[in-house]
């Protein structure tokens, strides 16, 4: 599991965790300096899945580049696509039809739910509880089936396109989502019984990996990681896009700043997402699912930035256009990248066993960080 690489001059032990380690959820490589069992320094070593997506996008058209972004944060692929589509629409000044807006929000929230479910499953497994994994995957399967029917894919959806969504909803969509709401409502309390109220679990989470609000701001943390430290940073509330300003939902924040606070934020967010889906599922407007756009998109000369809330935090798309059919430069501001930069600060002084809990509550997706 761990490979020893040596000792420092002060007699500290230096070990590697990863790149292939079950608790790093992908190819994250950490070089850890230890005094006894206490962490002195954690140095993330990135790049194992760096594909230079930004360079790739410079030779792809505005319709093509969106497909690549599904491969970044594969658990929020809908939301990644959505962010890119928003940025292109901002440049072209397209107003999308109301039906497309509602479909997009529904898909985003289903994705957020599925992503948080997978995180919850993996979180339990990291700590040593294997049962939650099967529970959460059972419910996530229902979401994946819904996605598969409408989008044709279970992971890399590529469903949102500039101007709206690619195809209309599957005829069974409403029926299946309603069935899912009933199913998930009966299961979400089980999540609390299984993990949240467990004494051993709480002992491992409370007071571990403290991040103050000031540090969360300084490290550029976003999403549940920052909201666990009491920072209000939900893009859906602060800079509403699509129809989020017309929906009733709460921004969840906790003040403790430890692993348990971040855990509770995500758990409560699942209920908020479910409530958004409930509000919308019977109110999908009829009409077009796509605005009329030109076959070849050309963004005017200038710079465009769009922000969107993924399951992990703020995802930013920065396009520099020279007026051509491809972007001159594109930058993806991924939430995981900034959240990871706070890991060393959070882990210092804790025992090596706690590192797994801290990493788990950061909800890292490595392709999102490496890009």
């Amino acid at each position: 599991m761990f490979e020893e690489v040596g000792t420092t001059a002060e007699g500290d032990l230096v070990i590697n965790v990863g790149p292939q380690h079950p608790s790093t959820h992908g190819v994250l490589h950490l070089i850890i300096t230890l005094t006894g069992e206490t962490i002195k320094n954690v140095e993330p070593h990135l790049g194992y899945i760096h594909r230079s997506i930004e360079k790739m996008c410079e030779s792809l058209t505005y319709r093509q580049f969106i497909y690549v972004t599904s491969r970044m944060d594969y658990l929020s692929s809908h939301i990644n696509n959505h962010g890119c589509a928003l940025c292109v629409e901002k440049g072209l000044q397209i107003e999308i039809p109301p039906r497309a807006k509602v479909i997009r929000v529904l898909m985003d929230e289903l994705t957020r739910l599925a992503s948080h479910q997978l995180w919850w499953a993996a979180m339990g497994m990291d700590i040593g509880a294997l049962t939650p994994f099967f529970h959460a995957f059972r419910e996530r399967e229902a979401i994946n089936d819904i996605m598969e029917e409408t989008c044709g894919a279970r992971l890399t959806m590529n469903y949102m396109v500039p101007g709206g969504v690619m195809v209309d909803l599957h005829p069974d969509f409403q029926k299946k989502v309603k069935a899912f709401i009933v199913l998930f409502k009966s299961k979400i309390d089980e999540y609390d019984e299984l993990l949240t109220n467990n004494t051993i679990f709480q002992n491992r989470m409370r007071g571990v990996g403290y991040l103050s609000k000031a540090d969360a701001i300084s490290y550029g943390c976003t999403g549940p990681t920052a909201r666990g430290s009491g920072l209000s940073c939900d893009i859906r509330k602060l800079y509403p896009y699509e129809i989020y300003d017309q929906l009733k939902f709460d921004e969840i924040t906790e003040v403790d700043g430890d692993c348990f606070a971040r855990y509770m934020v995500r758990l409560k967010e699942m209920k908020q997402s479910l409530s958004i889906i409930e509000q919308l599922i019977d109110n999908i407007p009829s009409g077009d699912f796509q605005a009329k756009t030109k076959a070849v998109l050309k963004l005017p000369k200038g710079e465009f930035y769009s922000r969107i809330e993924t399951a992990r935090g703020e995802f930013g798309v920065f396009i520099v256009s020279e007026g051509g059919t491809t972007p001159y430069r594109i930058k993806f501001r991924s939430p995981g990248f900034s959240n990871l930069s706070a890991l060393n600060h959070m882990a210092k002084g804790h025992k090596i066993g706690d590192l797994v809990a801290i990493m788990g509550t950061l909800d890292l997706v490595i392709p999102d960080i490496d890009r």
Partner: protein, 151 residues
């Protein structure tokens, strides 16, 4: 604070900056020699309090580089874009990682992919690529016949 008020205050505070129109946010172009001083002013002047650096990146314009900093304030909820032109032959800029800790990773990324040296950075090494990698991939003149497929 809205954009017009922000422009007014920034005009007084930073006389060497020029306001350019490029996005929905106020964009200020500043000379690179004053970069660090202005960064401190933006962070610590009360009323501005740009405490949140949410994006730091670079654009290669072939004749020069432009560093682009996106700031916002978690207190006042206003945003600002700062642009700094850098020389193409010797791209250097003072680090801001001591003011915003998130810049530590972002600057390493920019160094890795554009080859811009951030003076005073605590740990300026390649982030994604291996230490022995030759060249700076996101520059426009970068050629790699093995790993790059031209369409």
């Amino acid at each position: 604070m809205n954009n017009d008020e922000l422009k007014l205050i920034l005009g007084e505070l930073i006389p060497s900056g020029t306001v350019v129109e490029s996005s929905e946010w106020v964009t200020l172009e500043i000379p690179y020699a004053e970069g660090k001083t202005i960064a401190r002013q933006l962070r610590f002047t009360s009323g501005l309090d740009f405490d949140y650096l949410f994006c730091l990146t670079c654009v290669d314009w072939k004749t020069h580089f432009t560093l682009v900093y996106h700031f916002s304030s978690t207190m006042h909820r206003h945003s600002l874009v700062i642009k700094i032109k850098l020389d193409h032959n010797l791209p250097e800029m003072a680090t801001v990682s001591d003011i915003w800790r998130t810049a530590e990773f972002h600057e390493r990324e920019v160094y890795d992919l554009f080859g811009i040296r951030f003076l005073g950075h605590p740990d300026l090494r390649r982030l994604f690529l291996t230490e022995d990698w030759v060249g700076w991939p996101l520059r426009k003149d970068y050629e790699d016949p093995v790993n790059m497929i031209k369409l």
